[in-house]
Subunit: 346 residues, 2 copies
């Protein structure tokens, strides 16, 4: 048996903001038969994750491409790896059988052939929709949880600033921080997002950074007593302004730098005198270093979701053909919450 | 009894590099008599420390001035606090008596009146020259020890880069790192300093940054396998270049940013993608937060000095009148090792 598998590929290196024309939707025949000597399997993708970090894989060169497996530069024409939830169609891998629902690294495609072990595991949905396992319980959630709790070591009552606060990671950081009893302000790029942060997610305050001209003054207004923790998803001027407004022993978890990804000349130039005299820690991290706290992360998060203390924030488009526009839109700030593409009904 | 006390004061705010004309050597009569109701004492200064951080106290405004007692902006005409070693001349403080040798915060003066407790303690010279207690066993030494061991958490065999490596702190960081079995490269601003680092202090290599045009390439040459630890005393371009050359899980201890102190527009703009993907930690610190490890620091350092495994590097000028030129010279890189002024013979 054979299917016509549609998948997204890269046509050209991307150095600035991505455009839909940088991608191509291809169709290739895929035999649903496996070499009996292999331990391959074929999965039918249900949801695939759309993440900003992928842009760094699409550049001609980025130091990020050396950071580990899954972060290498993308070759033109190849299938693009992405986190997702899928159903096993056929498997030579003894650990999986047809019909298993799995989560892990698949591709931006309708079907993916999984060649290696260890990148996919069976999914226990824990009673939640499958989409939750793409973002909330996936790397976005783990990045929020690990970055906030492990890097920032927050204490009740501390003052927390989150950028890209309605994004896949930021919205969760704010929610975790509120649950701990912190004072939380987020920034986002539209009035609608700002309202959502305050009204749906319980942020103490929020602002639209596009309406501000002097971010140092803006943050001073929202944090008259200073910032203890800055969860950074954007880099550049916002990081500078946060450092300028930080309190002694302030901590910055650097999860992303989306404003820098599309502009190689854009940089954050925080005042090092502030860093020294205020003993500020600026720490970059990747969620996958924190697999060791997965159990704690999953149990805390699922409890809070069940009791209604946390709210999912998802942004789902439909069909493999929507992947390029979903991805491109990330860098215009189109998404509200975790962006993913639903490839097919379960 | 009364003495003519000579002391150095500030005449004007300093915004760029300091000049000798920014200071004034004043003489005032000082009665060697104390109000019996006070717990004051008068000390005769033997050595006073000359430190770059003082420049931040001499600016009209610097965020550093809010960082704690002893870091406030300096008022024109007042005596300027500085670390030093002194001998008690007269004391109403029951903890001290005439003839005691003490260490702590005195002033850039021949005599200092000490008004508060807790800033001065009796000195046990441990068999070492008194000057060692100004730098090696003072805050310079503690900054090196705490910054390297506590912030950087070094492991044997790691690759360590130190800037301002012949300075008061840098030379000690390099020596501690060599003793631990690290590979150590330092940068400094003259051929003489570079030779000294390699030949006297045992650095594996060293270079004159003034002869380099592309610091990223320079560091790549000296660290073909990357930098694990960067001990930063200078900030700006050197910090950027170090981050670009760092290995995964690299650590930057930000002890000083001397190249930025004299130029408010100068900033380090490290690539945040490097910080994220390489999980780099950039941590500012002040030595005084690490008084808790003083005992360990003093015992390790004195053992190494006695056994000849560490070498003092001191730069001593003579007489209170030499303070302005000694201070100004710090920012031209005139000093080799810990700069201090010997005010008088013991």
């Amino acid at each position: 048996m054979e299917v016509a598998n549609r998948y997204v590929t890269l046509k050209t290196y991307i150095e600035g903001a991505p455009e839909e024309s940088d991608f191509e939707l291809k169709t290739s025949p895929l035999a649903l038969l496996l070499d009996p000597a292999s331990d391959e399997m074929i999965v039918k993708n249900l949801y695939v994750s759309i993440d900003p970090y992928q842009l760094n894989r699409m550049k001609r060169y980025s130091s990020s491409q050396k950071a580990g497996p899954g972060l290498e530069g993308i070759t033109f024409g190849e299938e693009i790896k992405a986190y997702g939830v899928a159903k096993v169609v056929t498997s030579n891998n003894v650990e999986f059988e047809k019909g298993d629902v799995v989560v892990g690294f698949v591709t931006w495609a309708e079907y993916s052939k999984i060649r290696r072990n260890g990148v996919i595991r069976k999914l226990d949905p824990l009673g939640f929709p499958l989409s939750y396992h793409v973002g909330l319980f996936g790397y976005s959630g783990l990045a929020a949880y690990a970055g906030f709790f492990e890097i920032c070591k927050p204490k009740q009552g501390e003052k927390v600033f989150v950028s890209a606060a309605s994004g896949s990671v930021g919205n969760l950081v704010g929610q975790y921080a509120k649950l701990l009893g912190c004072y939380v302000v987020g920034c986002a790029g539209s009035k609608q997002k700002v309202e959502l942060l305050k009204e749906k997610l319980g942020f103490d305050d929020a602002f639209n950074y596009k309406e501000e001209t002097d971010l140092i003054s803006t943050l001073k207004r929202y944090f008259p007593n200073g910032i203890d923790i800055y969860f950074d998803n954007v880099g550049a001027e916002m990081l500078e302004a946060a450092v300028a407004n930080m309190n002694t022993y302030g901590r910055v978890a650097v999860c992303g730098a989306i404003s820098e990804y599309t502009d190689p000349g854009k940089r954050a130039a925080p005042n090092m005198s502030d860093v020294i005299y205020k003993r500020i820690k600026i720490q970059g991290f990747l969620a996958w270093d924190y697999m060791g706290i997965s159990e704690d992360f999953i149990s805390t998060t699922s409890d809070n979701l069940r009791s209604g203390k946390m709210h999912p924030l998802e942004d789902i488009s439909n069909g493999v053909e929507s992947i390029p526009s979903a991805f491109v839109g990330l860098f215009r700030g189109d998404n509200i919450g975790k962006r993913m593409v639903k490839i097919t009904e379960e």
